[in-house]
């Protein structure tokens, strides 16, 4: 079992390359300790789910934009091509969701990647692995919250790309092993990981400065 989420008593972030572990605490509601009155909520129903996905895609797009803009030492041509592709995909996902949400879209998130060392391959790829696996688990967990079949299909078209990203990032970290196909995280029934919005936002929280809540996504 490989879980990247652990509860501890204080809001602690440990973030170091392949052994990346996010340990966060707080209430069960992912409001990042901000008073609900001050924070924008993602919304209810399908709008809430789409905004949730939009927040995650904003985070991923911002991350890979940084990665491509300031490559780590000795980034290979293969890695540059892969990470640029992934950046393009995340930007496309972000923009797709923003357009789908229209005026219901949350604003631009302010991100905080101070815990990532963009000069180090292990830190960048370790972070990417966590983001991609987290994204897959988020979409897998959110599917049942979606009411509109068109949105469910749209989420499906995104999640398998995230899973492909996860596999390739894992292959860069641990080539030609069982890791790319999730040998360490797929359960005995051959099923991928599922996480609730609360779990996902708790894990992603340390990277997002903007206050928002997902109180309706349960």
């Amino acid at each position: 079992m490989n879980t990247n989420f652990r509860l501890s008593r204080r809001h602690v972030l440990k973030w170091s390359g392949a052994a990346a572990t996010v340990a966060v605490a707080g209430s069960l509601l992912p409001n990042f300790g901000i008073s609900t009155a001050l924070a924008a909520d993602l919304g209810e129903g399908d709008i809430g789910v789409l905004n949730y996905a939009y927040a995650l895609e904003q985070l991923e797009a911002a991350f890979y934009t940084m990665v491509v803009k300031s490559p780590y030492a000795d980034m290979s041509a293969d890695e540059t091509a892969i990470l640029t592709d992934i950046m393009d995909h995340e930007v496309a996902h972000r923009d797709f969701l923003k357009k789908a949400l229209g005026e219901k879209a949350i604003g631009d998130l302010e991100v905080d990647f101070s815990a990532v060392d963009f000069t180090k391959r292990d830190s960048v790829l370790g972070t990417a692995k966590v983001f991609e696996d987290l994204g897959v688990s988020a979409y897998n967990g959110a599917g049942k919250l979606i009411e509109n079949p068109d949105y469910l299909l749209a989420a499906g078209k995104i999640v398998s790309i995230e899973a492909r990203h996860a596999a390739v990032i894992r292959d860069l970290l641990d080539p030609d092993s069982i890791s790319p196909s999730g040998g360490d995280i797929i359960d005995k029934n051959g099923l991928d990981v599922v996480n609730t919005p609360a779990m996902v936002l708790k894990a992603a929280g340390p990277f997002i400065k903007t206050a928002f809540t997902a109180n309706s996504l349960v």
Partner: protein, 221 residues
């Protein structure tokens, strides 16, 4: 989503089965990958298959989707089983990779068999050469990789295309999504081994049941 009947059916089952069908608890096949044969006889899932109340209560539309999925998983399961048995086909450095992927497919077969209960079926007769079109499917690793990619990409497109038909069952939809992303991980890894891009763009497109069956039909003897 609103309360649904499937959840209440699940809630009435043996808690252990419910856990297996619904939970996201994670296990591992480990690097010493299990032999494929061991998984199929795993008492874990099959013990309940014969008397599966879960299967008995499923709406016909959902049963159809699961049967369709089981057909595809049977093909994949047999494909990896045969590939791993074919001496000298899979280079030593990739044996663990394909053993792991094959173990997932075997687990999908067992899972869907349990979910379908009386509606489940044994592996159909297959022709992995597709009537001779891929005559060297089990002797040429390049051909094997091409077919592996075909089956994995097809699986991704198939599950994606069926998701909307599972929307009334939270538990089954979630399980199908969990299989869907595993197939995508497989597809990406297999493509990479074959020296191909692991994706065709920012969005993965679905296929209809008819499209998928047309693609799979040549492999059904």
């Amino acid at each position: 989503m609103t309360t649904n009947q499937i959840s209440s059916v699940v809630a009435g089952l043996d808690p252990d089965l419910t856990e297996r069908l619904v939970s996201s608890n994670r296990g591992s096949f480990g690097s010493n990958a299990l032999k494929l044969g061991a998984l199929v006889s795993a008492p874990l899932v099959l013990a309940v298959a014969a008397t599966n109340a879960f299967g008995a209560e499923l709406p016909a539309g959902i049963v159809d989707v699961l049967k369709f999925a089981l057909t595809l998983e049977h093909i994949e399961d047999a494909f990896y089983r045969s590939g791993l048995e074919a001496k000298g086909l899979i280079p030593e450095k990739y044996v663990d990779v394909f053993t792991n992927i094959g173990a997932h497919e075997a687990a999908h077969v067992a899972f869907l068999t349990a979910a379908l209960g009386k509606d489940a079926f044994e592996r159909p007769k297959l022709d992995l050469t597709a009537g001779g079109k891929y005559a060297d499917a089990l002797t040429n690793f390049d051909t094997y990789l091409t077919l592996s990619q075909t089956f994995e990409d097809l699986g991704v497109a198939a599950y994606k295309g069926q998701a909307a038909n599972l929307i009334e069952s939270d538990d089954i939809l979630t399980a199908a999504l969990q299989i869907h992303s595993v197939e995508a991980r497989h597809a990406a890894q297999v493509r990479r081994i074959g020296g191909k891009p692991s994706w065709d763009g920012a969005f993965d497109e679905p296929k209809t049941k008819e499209e998928v069956l047309a693609a799979a039909k040549p492999f059904l003897a």
